[in-house]
């Protein structure tokens, strides 16, 4: 469902992502991990069509992001780390606007609004301007809006920042349910406990290079260590840094 082929991105000659090859299957919850500045957000932006790869290609649901961007984006729900929201729209207005962008009929929008706003406990604030929303409410609104067109692929950059424990649990449940329903989840996070809890597979990127791709069990086997994902992650990235 998500495929990258020798995907590279340079910033003025400095490589940010190098020869990234990924294949994420339908129904898979894939966690993309890495230290700050490793190339996670650059990769995500290439998958969302927000950056042009220097080399290689990215495909979502069979559509090349550069050749068929509109068709690819129709199938993506994107939740950025710093989402933009129109401060002077209400949550309901914003949801409707996104629904219209995706050509969702109004009655369907209404049904989904009720469902997702209830799910994320946004209903009491639906008609308030977004400028009055807390950080967590904004994050939940972005989730609701990204899910509204029932995308085949959900790309999520740092989903847990600012969420209260209850909302965090809801988000985790939603992500799992979406994957179980056959949708592909590409999740970038620093919250390793979330990755440990949810991921079917993980990819670890460091200094632009994919240094591990597989399940957590396979990571343990490779490093010949038991322990939490946090321990394994630190060991792996330190090892790579030392090698580099």
């Amino acid at each position: 469902m998500i495929q990258t082929d020798q995907l590279c991105k340079d910033y003025d000659g400095k490589p940010a992502v190098v020869d990234l090859n990924l294949d994420v299957a339908p129904g898979e919850l894939f966690c993309f991990l890495g230290p700050n500045g490793a190339g996670k957000t650059t990769t995500i932006k290439m998958l969302a069509g927000l950056l042009i790869p220097t080399q290689g290609a990215a495909r979502v649901a069979g559509f090349d992001l550069q050749r068929h961007p509109v068709e690819a984006k129709r199938r993506i729900g994107y939740i950025p780390d710093r989402p933009y929201l129109y401060e002077k729209l209400s949550g309901r207005d914003f949801f409707t606007f996104v629904g219209d962008l995706f050509g969702i009929p109004r009655p369907v929008q209404q049904a989904r609004l009720e469902h997702y706003f209830d799910l994320f406990r946004l209903t009491p604030a639906a008609d308030q301007f977004i400028e009055n929303y807390s950080h967590g409410m904004r994050q939940k609104l972005v989730f609701a809006a990204a899910l509204m067109h029932e995308p085949q692929v959900l790309i999520v950059d740092e989903p847990m920042v600012g969420l209260d424990p209850q909302s965090a649990r809801t988000v985790k449940q939603v992500l799992r349910e979406q994957a179980d329903a056959g949708r592909t989840i590409f999740l970038s996070t620093h919250t390793l406990s979330v990755a440990e809890e949810l991921a079917d597979r993980i990819g670890v990127i460091n200094k632009g290079q994919l240094v591990f791709l597989g399940t957590i069990r396979e990571l343990r086997a490779r490093l010949a260590r038991d322990g939490s994902l946090e321990d394994l992650f630190l060991l792996l990235t330190e090892e790579e840094t030392a090698d580099g």
Binding site: A48, P69, R74, P80, R82, Y86, F102, I104
Partner: protein
Amino acid sequence: MASTAPVAFLPLFLRLKLRLANNHLSGLRRHLWIHLVVGLLVVFMLIGGGSTLFHLVFRFLMEQQPFGPPLMDRLIRMVLLAFFSMLIFSNLIIMLTTTYISREVEFLMAQPIPHRRLFFAKLGESIVYSSWAFVILAFPLFVALRSSRDLPWTYFPSAACLLIPYLIIPAAAGAALALVIAAFFPPRRIIRFTFALGVLGMVMAVAMQRSQGVMGMMRQASAEDTADLMSLMDVGDFFLLPSGWLGHGLVAIEHGFWREAGFWALALWSTAAMGLVVCDWLAGLYYRGWTNARSSAAARRRRRAGLYGLFDRLLGWMPAATRAMVTKDLTVFWRDPAQWGQLVMLFGLLFIYLINLRSAAGFGQFQIFIPFWQSIISLFNIGATAFVLSILTTRFVYPMLSLEGKQQWVIGLAPVARTRIVWEKFIVSWISAVGLTTPLALLSSFMLRTGPFVTLLTVATVAVLAIGLSSMAVGLGALLPNFAEDNPSRIANGVGGTLNAILSLIYIGATLALETIWVHAYLRRGDVGPLVQLLLWGSFPVWLLLQLGTAAIPLTLGLRRWRRMEF
């Protein structure tokens, strides 16, 4: 899954913007009385006061035969050319900020919207943002033109037919420039941007040279032969520029030459259509430019990291906290070409105008160097300089404190008095304003060969107006901040910015009106009637009160508000 039918994005985007505007206005109900007062002031000042002022100036010029009417036409054409250049520049900057840098575009880019449609939606937005100020300023000008020349009311719709394409052309030009700059030169965007400015400047210079040619012809004309002079002026200085076409079209409408007016309207409309076709052709570059702008951001930041240190060393004599704030402001200002580029353009236009005053030597037979015209034109030049300064203080100084809102977590918690930042903005603004305008005032006096009294008056007035305008912009910026907005242009275009622009114009007008009495008495060598004597003696304390009040009141109120501000 989403529908596979193409989404009609333009109407959706328009609906979104209308909804945002409506929600914004509904949010203003909390301070309705302020907005009502501001609204009434706008209507009264711009439509009433502005048109009355223009009417008096136009009537006065019409009566000054044979020098007045051609000067009036020339002034109108110059104003239209200046507006045209500023509109190109304004559109270029607004396109770069709203179409490439804006976070809204990042959100929209992630949606299934064809890039071309997104670009044209933003172009429409840019036309609205960049043109509304022109429309407001032009309206009283056209009211006065109509009334001073006793034209029928149909003048307005006819003029509007010419004005609409006149606004679209610079928007298309600015958009096309933005597309090319962003697509091909992003890593060194600032340097290329300066280059683009240089090209614009050259276009201006060439246009001015053309005007010199016509003026050369005018030197050959007999002073009495006003009809010939008029026909020479009608040949048009800027016939290759749309501002010239608009000027000719307006004259044609004025005289009821409908065929000619139709010709100029067609020239304008076809050029506007061509401009949009060129934009459509270039729109394929949009996505590339947009992504390149992001790709180069990190490198640009690394390359220009030494600027802060440079300003910091240059300002080493200042107290540490003040130096930190001034250095931060100067660095941020310098790194944003939208700021200094516009500044260069505005003052460049004024500079070109003043340099061209020398060519007034060709008007020897019109006796421009007699004290009367020297004084009148000096007053006009003070007004023009102060007007440009008021645009600067509204566009750049007024938004400064609003932009500080999100930085209060660092500046607000620093161990310095909260009001230090307000003072710092005021002092930086005043020093910059004096540094920019005093040389222009001296240049004006030099070009007009004015005597010591008028020279002193010109320079002193500009320096004093710089205090008042800075105080007003900083004071109102502290009184009516907009912490939600990141874009300085939008902050300036808001209620507070509009109020600042109006009050600045009133202040400049009142100052000049009082000084006109002094100049009148000076020209008469004190030989004036009792009423003027009374006005003369009364004008001194009023002038002093006006300057003291404008310097002290907004700043004091702003300081008081800032002390209690919640962020």
